[in-house]
């Protein structure tokens, strides 16, 4: 399935990920952590298909469990002592729960970052930072052009050297090192020499004239406005909750959750809505598409 959320304006995408990443990192509250972890898992599965489930179960889950176990082994704060280790240190319920919470937080952040990578492609990133510093946008764009190009060229040079019996796979260790260095040296000369022509091409097309603008193919349309507005509203509600102290809990010395009331429930709902936003958008888009097709 094609992801609809990535078709939004880069500003929307970027703001969204900044918000959920920061919230996931700072709100150590079971409800918040649970919501963030579940939603990030759902969205990453939606983006990357079933492959990612296996990866999560195989690597992330054991990693999380390990963190939950290691924390109480080193952290002995807390009032609810469960038992004593052989060296006399206590293992407390609080430290176990804190370990679990921290592990959940890590996993959620990793999952959100994997979604970020899939949605925020290089051109969106270039666009965003080009807005702030126009010269940087061109530099980033050129880097993205030249890095893959140089990688290919290194391969070509290495093949050419192999053709005359010089390669990192030939000879003893000193010869190999020498051949490897030689490839780098050829690469440098080649890159510098060819950059002259690139510079000519840039000058010839007026680069360096004052008043350069930055073209982009992105447009902030009404759909972006709606989603961006909704997103900001949710963020404000969540921040209000944070200001009121609803979004974190106390682990040490004893566990203490903020009191559940109507406002805190509202904040939880807002957070759920925010984290589920891409999934909701994707599903709504899918349903709409099916509806249009069946209406024909």
């Amino acid at each position: 399935m094609k992801d609809a959320f990535s078709t939004f304006h880069p500003v929307v995408n970027f703001t969204y990920f900044t918000a959920v990443l920061l919230f996931s990192m700072f709100f150590m509250h079971p409800v918040f952590l649970g919501v963030s972890l579940t939603c990030s898992f759902l969205y990453s599965t939606l983006l990357k298909g079933k492959k990612i489930i296996r990866f999560n179960l195989l690597y992330l889950l054991p990693c999380m469990l390990l963190m939950a176990v290691i924390n109480p082994a080193f952290n002995h704060a807390g009032v609810t002592i469960l038992f004593y280790l052989k060296n006399g240190n206590p293992v407390t319920l609080e430290s176990i729960l804190y370990g679990l919470a921290a592990a959940a937080m890590f996993m959620a952040v990793i999952l959100w970052f994997s979604c970020y990578n899939a949605v925020m492609t290089a051109d969106k990133f270039v666009y965003l930072f080009g807005r702030i510093i126009p010269a940087l946008s061109l530099v980033l764009s050129m880097v993205l052009r030249f890095v893959p190009r140089y990688k290919v060229q290194i391969q070509v040079i290495s093949t050419a050297q192999q053709g005359i019996g010089r390669n990192v796979t030939n000879g003893n260790i000193f010869e190999r090192a020498r051949n490897g260095l030689q490839i780098l040296s050829i690469m440098t000369t080649w890159a510098l020499e060819n950059a002259i022509e690139t510079a000519d091409s840039m000058k010839s097309r007026g680069y360096g004239l004052p008043g350069r603008t930055s073209f982009s193919i992105f447009r902030f349309d009404r759909r972006d406005q709606t989603v961006f507005g909704a997103m900001l509203l949710l963020v404000v509600i969540i921040l209000a909750g944070a200001a009121a102290g609803y979004n974190t809990m106390r682990f040490f010395p004893s566990l203490k959750l903020p009191p559940p009331d109507a406002f805190s429930f509202g904040v939880y709902c807002a957070y759920l809505a925010l984290c589920l936003m891409p999934v909701i958008i994707d599903l709504a888009e899918e349903l709409k598409w099916k509806h249009i097709r069946s209406g024909l």
């Binding site: 051109d123 005359i164 004239l209 603008t213 073209f215």
Partner: protein, 565 residues
């Protein structure tokens, strides 16, 4: 109105005695299509670079250049950036950004246009060039021909009134080159843009041009219509002929009072108009088109033997080489021709032991190089193969050609005297004397090719593998290269060449093979090979095949004409 008016322009590079341009006088009218031709180093590129101030090389300049009636120096950078477009030879080097759309917008961004205007201009150009489907692609995904079209489109988006092209198709294969030149002609015809270009592929460019400017040693020796230029060159008996299309070269070799043909079609009519003996085509064997004498048959087994080779680059990728079998005898010059992406270069790398097929057998000099048990013997065999890469620059590592040549002998146990002797021998063979003190990157394309060849030859290979050695070379360098290869094969060196250059293979190879879809479809001696094909054959053969079916090279046709007049 004149687009350009050049008066008595002379130019000398710093630290050089000889001027690169001598008293050039040239007028280019608005909307004209002008082709500048001449040997490498005749000053073509230097002249073109004077047409735009930011690209003008440093040095001593005399004379005046007027652009649209005003001195060029007086029009500011902004005007020049927009109204003079410049396309260079290497498609890759000119691309600056990573996305096609960004590249198209690059020049317009520099001019400070707003988003809306850029959007319109870019859309217009993408539609005109038919490249709208690549609009959101990464430039790395494009082929060489597509990249060069992108360069052209991103310059045309600035709506220049003059387009200057410096050997734009030098790095492209024939199909992509024809496509590119077709687009240039379309721009000239439909937009009225003035075109000034230098080009090696005169076969396609001359028929499009309004005027041809021939340069030699920094001077303009001819400035006339293509037809008249051909006739003038014939009168002057100038060796620049070698750069001319086949019909013009044939015209020059045969006495006639008819006007000079430019295209193959013209050439056929011209041949029809010649008073050729009516019975000439009845005796094809008598058309003086003998194959070169076969090489003395030695008892040695073939140097290269491939048996049913299969190769793919990755498990999930399609096969690049399929069921390929070939044999190359010792001392043979074996030419492989065929389209782009058919697996020719891959096959060459397999012979060179760089790539390993997953099925089949490779015997080099009688040794099965795929056998795991014979690793030592394999190493020895591979040491006797040398491969010249497509880009000769990739072999240079030192400051001068001489040091570079000694570098390859560095690992050997030769005495200083022996080394000097070897370098001298190879320089004599590849005609490098006089270039030894230069930096390899300062040499021209053809000279670089010879320097790289010299370096490769110092390893004294028994088998020489060449990948597109004639790419971007002019006719003179090709003849030199052919001479060197001839000397090598006479010494018993086996040469395998992969090329798009049908003319070169037809003239000099012992055996030609057509590569298609990962394998060799047919192979034969050049005369038999090309006279049997109707599309994939030399221009000379296409022009004369209705009268002299067996004449393949230009010399064949000239000789056949002379004998039958």
């Amino acid at each position: 109105m004149e687009a350009y008016q050049i008066r008595a322009l002379s130019f000398t590079y710093p630290l050089r005695e000889k001027p690169a341009l001598k008293k050039i006088n040239l007028t280019v009218k608005q909307g004209e299509f002008i082709t500048v031709c001449g040997k490498s180093g005749s000053g073509k590129s230097t002249l073109l670079r004077h047409l735009k101030t930011v690209l003008t090389p440093h040095g001593k300049t005399q004379g005046e250049i007027f652009f649209q009636g005003r001195p060029l120096a007086e029009s500011d950078r902004r005007t020049q950036a927009a109204s003079i477009g410049f396309v260079l030879q290497n498609p890759d080097n000119q691309i600056v950004t990573d996305k096609v759309w960004h590249e198209l917008a690059f020049g317009l961004e520099s001019l400070g246009m707003d988003n809306k205007t850029i959007r319109l201009r870019v859309a217009e150009m993408a539609s005109f060039f038919g490249i709208q489907t690549w609009f959101r692609k990464n430039v790395a995904e494009l082929s060489g021909g597509q990249k060069q079209l992108l360069n052209l489109a991103s310059i045309m988006a600035m709506q220049p009134s003059v387009l200057v092209l410096d050997e734009p198709t030098g790095q492209l294969d024939p199909i992509a080159a024809a496509d590119f030149l077709g687009t240039v002609k379309k721009i000239n015809r439909e937009l009225g843009t003035t075109i000034i270009m230098t080009e090696h592929r005169l076969e396609e460019v001359l028929p499009m041009s309004d005027r041809v400017v021939v340069m030699d040693e920094g001077e303009i020796i001819i400035d006339d219509t293509p037809r008249r230029a051909g006739e003038r060159l014939k009168e002057m008996r100038h060796d620049l002929f070698l750069a001319m299309p086949s019909p013009v070269q044939i015209y020059a070799g045969v006495n006639s009072d008819l006007p000079c043909p430019i295209t193959v079609q013209d050439g056929r009519q011209w041949l029809n108009a010649l008073p050729i003996n009516a019975r000439a085509h009845e005796a094809p064997a008598a058309q003086c088109c003998q194959e070169p004498a076969p090489r003395p048959n030695t008892k040695r087994p073939p140097d290269i033997q491939l048996q049913e080779i299969w190769f793919k680059y990755d498990r999930d990728l399609p096969d690049a080489v399929k069921d390929l079998s070939l044999e190359v005898a010792a001392g043979q010059f074996y030419g492989i021709v065929g389209g782009n992406g058919t697996g020719k270069t891959t096959a060459l790398s397999i012979i060179g032991g760089i790539l390993r097929p997953y099925r089949g057998r490779v015997r080099i000099l009688g040794q099965d190089i795929l056998k795991a048990s014979a690793a030592n013997a394999r190493e020895q065999v591979l040491n006797r193969i040398a491969m010249l890469p497509q880009n000769p620059q990739l072999l240079f590592v030192k400051k001068t050609v001489e040091l570079d040549l000694y570098e390859i002998l560095a690992g050997t146990r030769l005495s200083q005297e022996e080394k000097r002797q070897k370098v001298q021998d190879v320089c004599a063979l590849t005609e490098l004397d006089g270039l030894l003190k230069m930096h390899p990157y300062d040499l021209s394309g053809g000279e670089q090719q010879r320097a790289a060849l010299a370096k490769v030859l110092l390893r004294e290979p028994q088998i020489l593998l060449l990948d597109e050695p004639t790419k971007g070379l002019d006719g003179h360098f090709k003849i030199k290269l052919a001479g060197i290869l001839e000397k090598l094969t006479a010494r018993g060196v086996t040469v395998v060449m992969v090329s798009h250059d049908i003319e070169f293979c037809a003239c000099y190879a012992d055996v030609c093979a057509l590569f298609f879809d990962g394998g060799i479809i047919t192979q034969n001696t050049p005369r038999a090979f090309f006279s049997g094909n109707s599309f994939y054959t030399t221009a000379a053969n296409r022009m004369a095949r209705h009268i002299f079916p067996a004449a393949v090279t230009i010399e064949d046709v000239i000789e056949a004409c002379r004998n039958n007049l």
